[in-house]
Every structure is written in structure tokens, then in C-alpha cells.
């Protein structure tokens, strides 16, 4: 195992993050604050509580998940796509590192970034609402797992993408709709029966639901199901990456 190599990738990627500190931190914080203002304040006058939870507080887990998922994908996909785009990827392939080490370095850095952002948003949320987190450890576990699994997904997208358009295509057409329709801003029990059933095919529902359970001790689906879903999702991404490693898909001629 080339630990120095993994550390080099991780440090280099984190440096990119801190170099663009303002953009990295400020933009998710500002957009989340806007969500709080618009949804939390405007809608809260109409929807006072969801399942007995104050609406402004109810949307906190969903908002964190929304940002963490999109940021994980954006960071991880860009992290590996950019070296491909500018050509510096030759160095990775000529270095004594294996694919697993490359994945650990890039995905680890991307997941760290989105974890930091997630925690900052949580801190911001405390400015707007009173929050009492029921299961803090479970909350943290869910957050870390989500950061990791979506960074893995982002890494795959970054390997797959042949240009910047494709890089944005999957997040735009698949991930963002799934996240928005995954119950970030509402409980799926508020939907008509048919849409409740449809929602159960959306994997993001289980993640947001599980995360919300960690906050409030209650959720749309059971916590076990949520854990199973995120475990399955992570496993799926890992299998796909293993396959990329075996076949050299899109990386080595």
C-alpha cells in the first residue's frame, strides 16, 4: 500500500478546496440560508408542523442531505475529471499507485469536503431554528455514509464523463430531481397514495428519511430500511468501481 501516494492525492485535492475557500463554503451556506428564509419562513406560515415537528426544523435534515449529495457528486466528479481534462492524469497512471489508492485519495478528499460543508450547514441551521438532535451519533454516521457513497458515485461520473457537458448531465438530470423529490422539503406521507408508492422507488427517500430519524426519532420509512438502502447503494458504487478497475474502462488504453 502506497500511503504516501494516497496522502499526496488527498492533500492536493484538499488544497484545491481551501484555495477556492470562498466558493467552496460560501455558496452552499448562502443557498441553504436562502432555502431557510424562503421555505422555512414563507411556507412555515402555511405548514406549521409535519408529523408534529415544526416545519422550519423539519426541513433541516433534508436541506443538509440535498447539499451534501450534490456537493459530494460535484467535488468527486470534478476532482477526477479535471486531471483528465488538463492531461495531468498521466502522472496517476505512471505512478506506483493502484486504482484503489487513487479512489481512496480522491473519494476521501471529496467526502471530507462535503462533510465539512454539511456540518457548516448544520451550524447555520442552529441560527434559524431550535434543534434538538435525538441520535447525534446516528446522525453523524448517516452523514459520513452519504458523503462517501455519493462521492463514490461522483467519482464514477467523473471517470465516465468525456466532456464538461456530460459531467453536469447526470447530476442535473438524475440526481437533482431524485434529491428534490426524495422528501427534502416534505414528508412523503403528505403525498397522494400513488405518489407515495412511486417515491418508494427513489433511493434518496431512504437516505433522507434515515437522516431525519436521527434528528427527530421518527421517519417515513424504518431506520433499518434506510440503513439497508444506503448500504446497498454504497456497495453498488464500490462494485462498479471495482469493475472499472478490472477492465480499465475509460481510463487506460
Amino acid at each position: 500500500m502506497n500511503f504516501q501516494g494516497v496522502r499526496a492525492i488527498y492533500t492536493f485535492e484538499m488544497a484545491r478546496f481551501f484555495r477556492t475557500l470562498l466558493q467552496s463554503f460560501l455558496s452552499p451556506v448562502i443557498s441553504t440560508s436562502l432555502y431557510f428564509v424562503v421555505f422555512g419562513t414563507a411556507l412555515a406560515s402555511r405548514i406549521e408542523t409535519v408529523d408534529g415537528i415544526e416545519y422550519a426544523a423539519f426541513i433541516v435534515p433534508g436541506l443538509i442531505m440535498l447539499t451534501v449529495m450534490t456537493q459530494s457528486i460535484a467535488n468527486a466528479s470534478f476532482g477526477i475529471y479535471f486531471p483528465k481534462f488538463i492531461g495531468t492524469v498521466y502522472e496517476l497512471f505512471s505512478a506506483p499507485v493502484n486504482f484503489l489508492e487513487i479512489v481512496v485519495g480522491y473519494v476521501g478528499a471529496a467526502a471530507t469536503k462535503s462533510l465539512i460543508i454539511g456540518l457548516i450547514i448544520l451550524a447555520t441551521a442552529f441560527l434559524f431554528v431550535d434543534l434538538d438532535i435525538q441520535h447525534p451519533m446516528a446522525m453523524l454516521c448517516f452523514l459520513v455514509l452519504t458523503c462517501l457513497s455519493f462521492s463514490l458515485l461522483g467519482f464514477i461520473i467523473g471517470i465516465w464523463a468525456g466532456n464538461f457537458e456530460q459531467l453536469n448531465l447526470v447530476p442535473l438530470l438524475v440526481v437533482t430531481p431524485l434529491v428534490f423529490l426524495g422528501g427534502s422539503f416534505y414528508s412523503i406521507s403528505m403525498l397522494p397514495q400513488i405518489w407515495q408508492t412511486v417515491s418508494l422507488f427513489n433511493p434518496v427517500v431512504y437516505l433522507i428519511s434515515g437522516f431525519r430519524w436521527a434528528f427527530f426519532g421518527q421517519a417515513d420509512v424504518s431506520i433499518g430500511l434506510s440503513l439497508g438502502a444506503i448500504g446497498l447503494f454504497t456497495l453498488g458504487c464500490m462494485t462498479f468501481i471495482w469493475w472499472i478497475f478490472k477492465t480499465g474502462w475509460r481510463i487506460r488504453s
Binding site: N2, Q4, G5, R7, A8, I9, T11, F12, A15, R16, R19, P83, I86, G87, T88, Y90, E91, L92, F93, S94, A95, P96, V97, G248, R252, S253
Partner: protein
């Protein structure tokens, strides 16, 4: 004995069916500068990419320092530094961070003193904390070399280090390469500038169409392949070559004032004495005589043309 880099029966076929390398055999000796000379598309970059692990081997075997580049890739690759043809650098990062990254990636622990020394030898020390994007083209190329040297490699590959570089910088680059050789680094460079191979290489390999046409000591190559010319300036212009001299390989200049005689230095008789005697007998008076050694360029063009016909 096998060289520090040993390539045996290497074939490379791209998925599209292109045979980029057709059975390459090459032994590179420790401490030498080997220039791989060939026209564009000859397979120079493919050969280097394959040795460095960027491109997969279709068939054959490569070892570096005795380590197989596939089964013992970690040991093999940590001995290799690669300077790619294109300038590919993270534009917003500083010089020193880019170099640190490369060192770490190759599994070496931090050593700031060594990195400073590398930057110093490449005249980059004062640009250590500058962002890559602010550097000139020549400096960026030197940053690439610094990255390749960051992990103390024994073998350095330079893929067209002076392509698109002005004369001044090219000379600088040659000096850098010579300095590295003195430090004991084995250097393999590709080029399509014959002048470059002639100036710095110990041995020259000529590659075309995915095949190595020859690998030979530079001086021996030039002596072996070299043809010499004698140019004889005449006192009075001649309108044709006299019949007596027809048996010699002579060219008459357009103005008739000079004769050029081409001969082979390695043949037993150069025919110079005979020619000079016969010239006198033909009543031609000489004003001046000069000899010219044919350049590597002539040899190269000859070889490549031969191989493509």
C-alpha cells in the same frame, strides 16, 4: 547483461486495430543518453507510454532495473520519471505543491531540501511559490522536469522536451539534460530534431512505423553511415564533366565552377588520389578543395525512406 530498461518483443495494438509497435527490442544502458529519433506517428510516444505504464502491453515484456513493469509495477515505476510531451500542469497550484504532489504520489517521504535542490538545478527556486499559470512556457516545461525528478528516479523519459521551444531554451534544455547525466540519471529522450540527437545523445535509436530500424553509438553510426563529399572549386568553368572523369561519382555545379565528389569513408579505396590525378590529366586546375561530412539528418532521411519503401 540486460540494461536498466529492457524491452523484449513489445507489441502494442490499439483497440481500433492500429499496430503502433511491431515487436520492439531495446536495451538501455545505465547512465547513457539515448535519443529515439523518428518522424511524427512513428511510435515514439507509444513506446514511452508503455514503458511508463500509461498504456497497456499487448504482447512482450518490459523490465526496469530488473523489475517487470506489470507484476512488480510499484518497484519498477518508482524508478521512472516521465516528462510528457504536452505541458500538463494544474494551473492554479504553486510550483512547489505540484512537485510535492509528484514526490508523494511516487511513495517517497517528504524531503524539502532535495526538492529545493531540484528546483535550484532547474533555475526554478525563485518561482517556488509562484502559481503555475503565471509561468512562461519554458518554465512550465522545467516544472514538468522537476516533477519527474521529484522522487529521485534512476531513469528519466523526456518525450520531445524541446518541441516548440525556441533555440535559446533548447540549448538550456540540452545543458539540463547533460547535467542530469552527470548526476547518474539514465535519460531516454524522443525527438524529431536530428540536431538534438546529434548534440546530446550517446546512442541513437531510429524508429519508424512502430519498428526500431537501428540503435547504435552516435559516433559509430555517423562514421559507419557517413558519406563524405569533396567539393573542388575550379579555376575555369567547365561546361561538362570530361569523359575521362565519367567513372567517378561527380556532380558539376550549375555555373560549372565546382565539382562535387561523393565517396564512402568506410570503403577501402576512396578514389581521391585517382580523381585528383585524373583531374590534372584532364587539364582542369583547382582553386580550392573542401570536404564535408554528411550530417545525421542525411542518414536519418535515408533510413526512414528506405524503411517506408
Amino acid at each position: 547483461m540486460t540494461g536498466i530498461v529492457s524491452v523484449q518483443n513489445l507489441r502494442k495494438t490499439y483497440p481500433g486495430g492500429l499496430h503502433a509497435l511491431k515487436g520492439i527490442n531495446l536495451e538501455i544502458e545505465e547512465g547513457e543518453i539515448l535519443a529515439l529519433l523518428g518522424p511524427n506517428g512513428a511510435g515514439k510516444t507509444t513506446l514511452i507510454s508503455t514503458i511508463c505504464g500509461i498504456s497497456k502491453i499487448t504482447e512482450g515484456k518490459i523490465t526496469v532495473g530488473g523489475m517487470d513493469i506489470v507484476t512488480e509495477y510499484r518497484k519498477a515505476r518508482s524508478m521512472i520519471g516521465l516528462v510528457p510531451q504536452e505541458i500538463t500542469l494544474e494551473p492554479f497550484e504553486t510550483v512547489i505543491n505540484s512537485v510535492r504532489f509528484s514526490r508523494g504520489l511516487f511513495g517517497k517521504p517528504k524531503n524539502e531540501a532535495y526538492l529545493d535542490q531540484v528546483l535550484e538545478s532547474l533555475s526554478l527556486l525563485d518561482k517556488k511559490d509562484a502559481r503555475v499559470i503565471t509561468l512562461s512556457g519554458g518554465m512550465k516545461r522545467r516544472v514538468l522536469i522537476a516533477k519527474a525528478l521529484s522522487h529521485e528516479p534512476r531513469v528519466l523519459f523526456l518525450d520531445e522536451p524541446t518541441a516548440g521551444v525556441d533555440v535559446e531554451l533548447r540549448k538550456d534544455m540540452w545543458n539540463t539534460v547533460r547535467k542530469l547525466k552527470q548526476q547518474g540519471v539514465t535519460i531516454i529522450l524522443t525527438t524529431h530534431y536530428i540536431e538534438e540527437a546529434e548534440a546530446i545523445a550517446d546512442r541513437i535509436g531510429v524508429i519508424n512505423g512502430g519498428e526500431i530500424l537501428l540503435v547504435e553509438d552516435k559516433n559509430a553510426l555517423m562514421a559507419r553511415m557517413g558519406k563524405k563529399k569533396i567539393r573542388i572549386d575550379l579555376m575555369e568553368a567547365a561546361n561538362k564533366i570530361p569523359n575521362k572523369l565519367k567513372s567517378y561519382d561527380l556532380d558539376l555545379a550549375k555555373d560549372g565552377k565546382a565539382l562535387t565528389y561523393t565517396y564512402d569513408t568506410k570503403s577501402e579505396r576512396t578514389g581521391i588520389t585517382g580523381l585528383l590525378n585524373d583531374l590534372q590529366a584532364a587539364g582542369m586546375q583547382m582553386r580550392d578543395v573542401q570536404t564535408q561530412q554528411s550530417s545525421l539528418e542525411d542518414i536519418f532521411v535515408g533510413l526512414v525512406q528506405e524503411s517506408s519503401t
